[in-house]
Symmetry: C2
């Protein structure tokens, strides 16, 4: 069974002091830390392309897993909606070349936003099993600094740039359990790019998440024959501190099991869940973790992963 | 086992007379039919978006498979590099809404060009098996009329707009056998969009295809324990008449087994292979078909599908 073997990440050192940015919009520190959740928003260099963030994350993964050789990689999927080029070619091809991966690699991009990691782990596991492949890299990199207007108070305090790389293969400690997905394109206009600039109707997205995510998690648990107590941690998309808190409250389980860790990263889109897993899961005693990603599309996905 | 149950398509009725277009560039009918391979290039309406082409193809699929209900669809993947919006949201979400599919659908886009269908069938089959889903729609729609410059003699005589929809599920007549994939991002600059306009280095892409595809098909056959005679038909990407002919010659099998059918469609990118399958495979006596897609990335993928 293909599972999650390791996760690494790249978070740019440079970035924006979100307290200073908040002051510009007359938002105090309580708001920045309590509602937004992020004191600092990492920003890629102007010279860095999306593929460069991917390369940094994958190189970090190689560094922490010296037994994983470039030659052994046979599939590379990049989850992004802000790739290097205008539509084509796909960013994964550029990453293949920059990393010097073998040309026998199957590579493509998946277009999804904040739900992308949950979809992505099933997409890559399934593709590997269907095509008989052994070692896969699932990379997330969606640098919203390319599209967010720094004068837009609804978005500029929220998003941080980051990339993550997940190694999937046989003999993994973490296996994928049951998953559920959802899509409501009638809400597409709430999160979109027009003329190169990102627009978000924050209230609509907040209401959507609060309506969908706690119920979706309960449905997933019920269909898995599990109780909330059977889950050691809920690693959900870090849209903002307010949304994580509100989902935790509405779920009516132990709110402390909802991991919140975005003070130094902001909302990193499809990278937020793997950042949590990298930092909190591998050294934990957790046996079962629930994931939920939600956002652009509108799209959502929830899954249970478990220690084998 | 998830396999291919049915394929339907949408090819716009309106389009360009390619003989007239050829005359403009001093190309005679022999060139248009013998080298390009297409007398007519279908063109979507200016008012039609990529999602509208997808909707037409899926509605054609529903019409020819009345037993397939909208409510039964649980995954929708759109293969495109020319979606409705600028990066986000993904086109699959818009298609979910326009088709009135249930909000329990898992939906995402895969960014790939002419290799996209071969990747796509393994991606959707794998995702369905990994996530326990029953009925999937793989939609291809990459209308190059959005990006091709009508004054560019290297590209404007080649591409046609079309969309296809493939239903995958249990109990299918056609099953997926072995597949092989490849990626060489060092060739990314040979096919790309800059400032909204498509550029292709035709000679480089032709040489790449001729170098890679026949050898890739031979490797795939050898790894599958098959001889060229075991394959009833080769349905490869219809890049141009010249490339299909050249690949067939270089393969050194029976050239008549390489299906060529693009006179009325042009190069429809990721739709070219499913258009061939729809038209020629389902009513045939074929038992085993080899597929190969190649192009943007550079990216290639070959697979064997067989009658169960």
């Amino acid at each position: 069974m293909i599972g999650i073997k390791s996760i690494a990440s790249y978070v740019p050192v440079a970035g924006v002091d979100n307290y200073a940015q908040g002051a510009k919009f007359a938002k105090d520190e309580d708001f920045i830390l309590g509602k937004i959740g992020s004191a600092f928003l990492p920003r890629k260099d102007d010279g860095q392309e999306t593929s460069d963030l991917c390369v940094e994350a994958v190189n970090a993964l190689f560094a922490s897993n010296p037994e994983l050789k470039r030659e052994a990689i046979d599939v590379l999927i990049v989850v992004t909606q802000n790739g290097d080029e205008e539509g084509l070619p796909h960013t994964a091809a550029i990453v293949q070349d920059k990393l010097g991966l073998p040309t026998t690699v199957a590579a493509f991009d998946i277009s999804l936003g904040c739900s992308g990691y949950v979809y992505g782990i099933y997409a890559i596991k399934g593709f590997m099993e269907a095509a008989g492949l052994k070692n896969g890299l699932l990379v997330t990199a969606d640098p919203y600094s390319k599209i967010v207007d720094p004068e837009d108070r609804n978005t500029t305090m929220l998003f941080g740039d980051a990339a993550t790389a997940t190694w999937l293969g046989e003999g993994a400690t973490w296996q994928l359990g049951k998953a559920k997905f959802g899509t409501d394109g009638s809400g597409a206009p709430h999160l979109k790019v027009s003329d190169g600039v990102f627009f978000m109707n924050g209230r609509q997205v907040f209401n959507f998440a609060l309506l969908k995510v706690p119920a979706h998690l309960h449905e997933l648990l019920a269909e898995s024959g599990l109780q909330p107590d059977d889950i050691d941690a809920f690693c959900i998309h870090q849209g903002s501190a307010a949304i994580v808190d509100a989902v935790a409250r509405r779920f009516e389980g132990d709110p402390d099991k909802f991991i919140k860790d975005m003070v130094e990263t902001g909302n990193t889109v499809s990278s937020s869940i793997p950042l949590l897993l990298e930092k909190h899961m591998f050294d934990s005693s957790w046996k079962r973790v629930a994931l939920s990603g939600f956002g652009v599309g509108l799209s959502w996905g929830s899954a249970i992963i478990y220690r084998s």
